[in-house]
Subunit: 133 residues, 6 copies
């Protein structure tokens, strides 16, 4: 159970409700997932985290689906079960097909493997990879 429990909309302060409202409007949904309800006990963190996320996950040079795939990739590497479940759901909502998910998993698995081969074989960075852009 979440450390402080979950703050439901009806019990939330005006400050917290404002964030919940913005989450639901931005995501075009009438639902708030547990993550936000758990951190709402710290309204400053709730607001900062949401605003950062809204800015970072917005369409830009990368489209929102690609950003969700990256989010899933990191969450899988870190073995964060909640984050895997929630961002897999988000990615689907943004258009991730089953085949995309499967290829995502294959890449994440492979990267985790070769990251360790590199470390174990103590591979040095090639000169041509060292240049700044």
């Amino acid at each position: 159970m979440a450390t402080f429990g979950l703050i439901e909309y009806e019990n939330a302060s005006a400050e917290v409700r404002a964030v919940y409202d913005d989450i639901m409007t931005t995501r075009k949904t009438d639902w708030i997932n547990n993550f936000w309800k758990a951190i709402a006990h710290d309204p400053a963190t709730l607001k900062r985290t949401w605003e950062d996320k809204k800015q970072i996950m917005a369409p830009g040079a990368l489209d929102p689906l690609t950003k969700e795939l990256i989010y899933v990739a990191v969450s899988v590497s870190n073995q964060c079960d909640y984050c895997i479940a929630s961002h897999t759901a988000s990615a689907r909502k943004k258009g991730m097909s089953n085949d995309m998910f499967k290829e995502l998993m294959a890449v994440v698995g492979m990267a985790n493997e070769t990251n360790r081969l590199v470390a174990g074989y103590q591979v040095e960075i090639d000169e041509r990879f060292k240049k700044s852009v």
Copy 2:
């Protein structure tokens, strides 16, 4: 320095050369980076790793650039300096712009942050995230 040193093409066995040739042909380049030269001391691992990578990184439901972005994301989460340098270079070659890189970093940073907020606040998975597809 790499554990066993690096095997250059001119010193490679026929078995290793065959893999090097396939890498260069597939990547349309005349150059082999240190990773392959370091693991070439184990031809079975060289061959298996290359064949897996060729299969996994090929165009599919996800395009090759998206796959490279995911590779970079994992390597950054794992703090693998070699992999960050080499896959950032690969991603550029496949079309990653500076803006794409910057957004990639922002997402990776954010995911690593919220992964820990989730853990620390002991957030439980929402019922609607638990259903299989």
Copy 3:
């Protein structure tokens, strides 16, 4: 369920009981948490781990609460659910307020984020950070 199950006080050997007794005396409690009961199957590890912990977590240049906060920070970074739950409880017992917990989480999240920005942007250590004390 724990790999070997849990060893309760009444079923414990004299060697294990001696450690359990010392844990309860040191912590001024009549209760042993699962961690110790699970590793008690290896009395050498039980004894070594407890003695190390008693030495390391004792008041020193850092007070016991600060040490617990650090323990929680590491456990959150490593996504160890048991450790988060148990050390959050210990920290509370030693005086962690709700506000302290919230700030702790914010710092842990931020550190995990910037650790990856540093890696991804391949930031080199500033000369003035390289000097030994």
Copy 4:
């Protein structure tokens, strides 16, 4: 070398200079470390990261030194060399003594050890640790 190189004050845009100025004013220093100069290529990330950090690391229920110790603890767990070097320096500036550093390291090491004993022995969370506050 940093992915895009470092942006020095004299070459920075007004937007970036404003952040640099705020960093130097807040920290009462005339110096900017490489981290900020490396991410300054993405002014949005520079600004967001700095503002988050200023908010999070400010004195609160936890004092600034304790927050730096936590930052070091996370950076050590994640093996981020840059972050270890820079936050160890920051912690010293805020009053960390050598003895405090040594105890910090001992706790971080121990937490990383017991996090794995817990995982390996598959220890279940005690009922009394499951309650929310």
Copy 5:
């Protein structure tokens, strides 16, 4: 619940059944564990992963039990609960005694501890460790 659910033998395609059959034959068992049934939704990954595993875990310079111990060690470091449970079971089947398990855990815990002491104290690699073989 697994992302796509589990594919049981009776519902599997010929391609998937061929892998299941090979797993059961190789392992001299009539049972398939959940991992394979979960990734069977991606037959290419199922086949590749199984063939890699069969090659890598086969007797060689290291015996199969030692390889399982290493697998458990990595899984514990990464806090992968499923992998810890399944590979602990495999290791037992291949001859791991209780005492071997306990020593394995002690080494894994210690390595995780000293890995962080090294990072935190910023220890440089000794010249004599830098030579390639």
Copy 6:
């Protein structure tokens, strides 16, 4: 450079020298590697770490070489460059052949890969893996 620099034998206190002497005697060598010289600034940690290591790495149900292989496996998973270099050297000294090293790397890579496939596919632990011994 190490945080506090390195303490050479000739500058060491009697307390530190006693540990250095025991390390050299136990390892049948006249040489101390940087790790010990770096943590010697904290004699309590030096002594505790050495005594734990001597106890844990001693021959038991697992032989010393197997224990070193496990140490390398963990260090590679954690991307600890110093630890990889030093424990690879130790393992060689205890009899690790090149072929053993190569197989070790293959297993470590594979385990890191499948750990993430398990997480990403959200695989649940099989009932028969849940039983305690």
